[in-house]
C-alpha cells in the first residue's frame, strides 16, 4: 500500500496587482489573481502524478508553492506528514534536500556565468557538513553527468555551449545530486525535438526505476502525461476539475473540460477518426473568474445552476474525482 508522500489540503495562492495607493484612487484598485484556489490532492510515494491544464490554470504556481518559491495564502502542504509551509529552518533544509525541481526553461535555470561542473557541485557542497576534497567533488560531479549520459568533460563548459536536450539533462543531474525522493518536473520536454524529448522521457523513467523517485509531472502535453503518469489531475483557472488514476481519467473523461481537452490533442493515430470538441471563446482571466463553475463560459453542457453554484469534487468511485454538476453525489 503506497503511502502518501505529499498531501495538499485547501491550498490557495493568490497574487496581487496594483497594490499602491494611486491605483486605488485613480485606477481600478488592487486586483487579485486567484492562481491556485482551494486545491487538495495527494501524491503517493513511488508513483508519478501528472498535472495538466492550459495557461492560467495554476499548475506551475501550485508547483512553485510546494517549494515555497511563492507564498501561499492559506492551506497546508504536508510532506511526509510535516507541514512544509510552517517548517522551522532546520527541517526546511532537510525538505529542500529531499524535494527538488526541474525547471521549464532549461537554460534559464542555470547561472550563465558558472560552469556546468560548478552548477552541479553547488548542491553537493551544501550537502556535506565538512569541506569536500576537490578530487572527490569532481568524482561526484562526473558520476552525475554520466548518469544523464553526458561525458565528464562537460563539467568545464558553460551552459550556453550545450543543446536544449543536453541542458535539460544537466538540470536533471543537478536535481538528483542530493538523492531526492521527490522531483517536480515542470514541462520537462518543452522546446525539445521529438527524438530529444524521447531521450529525456526514457532517462526520467530510468532514474525513477533506479532511484525510486516520486514525480510530479506538470505538463500541458496530454500524450506525455498519459504515457508517464500513474495518477493525474486536470486544472482549470486555479481549481481541480477532475482527478484520479490516469487510466480512469482518460477512459471516463467525466468532466466536459477534460473531454474537450483530450479530444483537442492532435494524434497521429492510425485510422481512428477523432471527434474533436471545439471550445468556443478564450480562456478567462484568473483575475475575475466566472461565478459558480469557472468553466461554464465555454462548457458545451452548461446548465442554469452552473452559474450560481460552484461544483465540488465528488468521488465517482475508486478514487476518481470530478467537480461537475453533471455528476452529483448521491
Amino acid at each position: 500500500m503506497a503511502m502518501d508522500l505529499i498531501d495538499i489540503r485547501n491550498l490557495r495562492t493568490y497574487f496581487y496587482q496594483n497594490k499602491g495607493l494611486l491605483s486605488k484612487v485613480f485606477g481600478e484598485g488592487m486586483k487579485t489573481v486567484h492562481a491556485v484556489d482551494d486545491v487538495s490532492l495527494t501524491i503517493q510515494k513511488g508513483r508519478t502524478f501528472g498535472l495538466v491544464g492550459e495557461s492560467g490554470c495554476g499548475k506551475s504556481t501550485l508547483g512553485q508553492t510546494i517549494f515555497r518559491l511563492v507564498k501561499a495564502q492559506s492551506g497546508e502542504i504536508l510532506f511526509q506528514g510535516q507541514d512544509v509551509l510552517n517548517m522551522d529552518p532546520k527541517t526546511l533544509m532537510g525538505f529542500r534536500k529531499k524535494a527538488q525541481l526541474i525547471f521549464q526553461d532549461q537554460y534559464g535555470c542555470m547561472n550563465p556565468r558558472m560552469t556546468v561542473g560548478k552548477i552541479i557541485a553547488e548542491p553537493l557542497l551544501m550537502r556535506e557538513t565538512g569541506k569536500m576534497d576537490k578530487h572527490d567533488l569532481f568524482q561526484e560531479v562526473a558520476k552525475l553527468l554520466l548518469a544523464v549520459n553526458l561525458d565528464s568533460d562537460s563539467a568545464k563548459k558553460f551552459p550556453n555551449e550545450f543543446s536544449g536536450g543536453q541542458a535539460r539533462r544537466i538540470g536533471v543531474a543537478r536535481a538528483i545530486a542530493l538523492n531526492p525522493i521527490f522531483i517536480m518536473a515542470d514541462e520537462p520536454t518543452s522546446g525539445l525535438d521529438i527524438s530529444t524529448a524521447a531521450t529525456i522521457l526514457n532517462l526520467m523513467q530510468d532514474l525513477q526505476d533506479k532511484l525510486d523517485i516520486t514525480y510530479l509531472w506538470v505538463s500541458h502535453n496530454l500524450n506525455q502525461v498519459k504515457y508517464m503518469s500513474d495518477d493525474m489531475a486536470v486544472m482549470y483557472l486555479g481549481k481541480i476539475v477532475e482527478m484520479g488514476q490516469t487510466k480512469d481519467v482518460f477512459n471516463a473523461m467525466a468532466h466536459p473540460y477534460t473531454k474537450a481537452l483530450i479530444s483537442a490533442v492532435p494524434q497521429v493515430s492510425a485510422s481512428q477518426q477523432k471527434k474533436t470538441i471545439f471550445l468556443e471563446g478564450e480562456i478567462p482571466s484568473p483575475i475575475n473568474p466566472p461565478s459558480g463553475c469557472r468553466f461554464r463560459t465555454r462548457c458545451p453542457q452548461v446548465m442554469k445552476k452552473c452559474k450560481t453554484r460552484e461544483p465540488i469534487l465528488t468521488d465517482l468511485g475508486g478514487g476518481h474525482l470530478c467537480a461537475c454538476h453533471l455528476h452529483r453525489a448521491n
Binding site: R96, F103, N111, M126, K134, F138, A147
Partner: protein, 300 residues
C-alpha cells in the same frame, strides 16, 4: 549515490577550464571586438608608463632648465619643454601615473561601494532599506557632480587622495542605480529560484549568482567612467583644486599650458592629446573586456 556508478573517472580533474584556456579565450574575445586589441595595447602603454615611470623617463620631471624653456620638439627634448624648462615628455609620463591612479582609484572605489549598495537595494526590493538607498542615491546625484567634487576637495584640501575620494563619492550613486536595476531583473531568473529551492543562503545568492550577472553593463560603464575620471581630475587640477604642483598631472600641465598658450602651443597640445589617448584607450578596452568576460560569446 545509491546507483552502481562506482568507477573512477580518469582524465581532466577540474570543474572550471584551466586558467591558460580562460586567458587565451579572453584574449581571442578582446581581439574579436573591433578596436579591443588597440584598446588593450593603449592601456598597456599607459600602465607601463604608470608603473615604470622612474625608469623610462629621459629626465626628472621636476628638473628645471630655464635656459631651454619653451623649447619645441627636438632631439634633446622630444616633446619640448615647458615654462620652467622641464621636459614635457617626462611630465606626460608621470602624469600618466596620476591619471591611472585617479582613474582606477576613483572608479574602483565608487563602483565597489555603488554596486554593493545597489545589489542590496535591488535584492530587498520594496523594503525599507531599498527606499533608504534610493533616497541616498538621489540626494547625492542631485548635486551637480563638479560642484560636489569641488566642495569636497575644497574642504579636505587638494591632494591626490582627496581627489580620488571626492570623485568616488560623486560617482557611486550612478553605479548604485545601475546595479539595482539589473538586480531587479536578474533576481526573477530561474537560476535564482533554483538556488532558493536548494536552500542557499541569501548572501551566497547575492555574491555567487546575482553579482556576476549584473556586471556586464557595470563593466562597460567602468571603462567609460575611467575616461571621464581622467577628465575630471584634469578639470580639478586645472582649477587648482587637484593635485598640488609641482606634481606633474595632465590637468596641471593644461593649466600651465593655457597660461602660456601664446608663447608655446606645445605645452597645452601634448597633455590634451594624452587625455584623448587615455579616453580612447579605456573606451575600447572596456568594450573588449565586457565581451571577453561574457561566457555567451565563447565559440561553441
Amino acid at each position: 549515490m545509491n546507483t552502481t556508478l562506482s568507477k573512477v573517472i580518469p582524465g581532466q580533474m577540474s570543474l572550471t577550464p584551466r586558467w591558460t584556456e580562460t586567458l587565451s579565450m579572453a584574449f581571442k574575445a578582446i581581439v574579436k571586438v573591433k578596436g579591443g586589441l588597440l584598446g588593450a595595447v593603449f592601456i598597456s602603454i599607459m600602465l607601463l608608463c604608470a608603473f615604470c615611470a622612474q625608469w623610462i623617463t629621459p629626465y626628472d620631471p621636476n628638473a628645471q632648465d630655464i635656459v631651454h624653456r619653451f623649447a619645441g620638439p627636438g632631439w634633446a627634448h622630444l616633446l619640448g619643454t615647458d615654462y620652467l624648462g622641464r621636459d614635457i615628455l617626462s611630465r606626460i609620463i608621470y602624469g600618466c601615473r596620476i591619471a591611472v591612479l585617479v582613474a582606477f582609484g576613483a572608479v574602483g572605489l565608487s563602483s565597489i561601494i555603488g554596486v554593493f549598495l545597489g545589489v542590496m537595494a535591488g535584492y530587498n526590493e520594496g523594503e525599507k532599506i531599498d527606499y533608504f538607498l534610493i533616497w541616498l542615491f538621489d540626494i547625492v546625484r542631485s548635486f551637480p557632480q563638479i560642484i560636489l567634487a569641488l566642495a569636497i576637495v575644497a574642504v579636505l584640501g587638494p591632494s591626490l587622495v582627496n581627489v580620488v575620494m571626492a570623485l568616488a563619492f560623486t560617482a557611486f550613486p550612478f553605479y548604485g542605480r545601475i546595479a539595482r536595476a539589473q538586480t531587479l531583473s536578474v533576481k526573477e531568473a530561474d537560476y535564482i529560484k533554483a538556488a532558493e529551492a536548494m536552500g542557499q543562503k541569501p548572501l551566497t545568492i547575492i555574491l555567487r549568482h546575482i553579482t556576476p550577472n549584473i556586471m556586464a553593463p557595470v563593466i562597460v560603464c567602468l571603462g567609460m567612467d575611467m575616461a571621464t575620471m581622467i577628465i575630471w581630475e584634469s578639470g580639478l587640477s586645472f582649477l587648482g583644486l587637484g593635485v598640488r604642483p609641482p606634481t606633474a598631472s595632465w590637468g596641471i600641465m593644461l593649466r600651465n599650458g593655457y597660461k602660456y598658450i601664446q608663447v608655446s602651443p606645445w605645452m597645452i597640445l601634448w597633455p590634451a592629446l594624452a587625455i584623448a589617448f587615455a579616453m580612447i584607450a579605456f573606451s575600447l578596452f572596456s568594450e573588449g573586456l565586457r565581451v571577453a568576460l561574457d561566457p555567451k560569446e565563447r565559440e561553441r
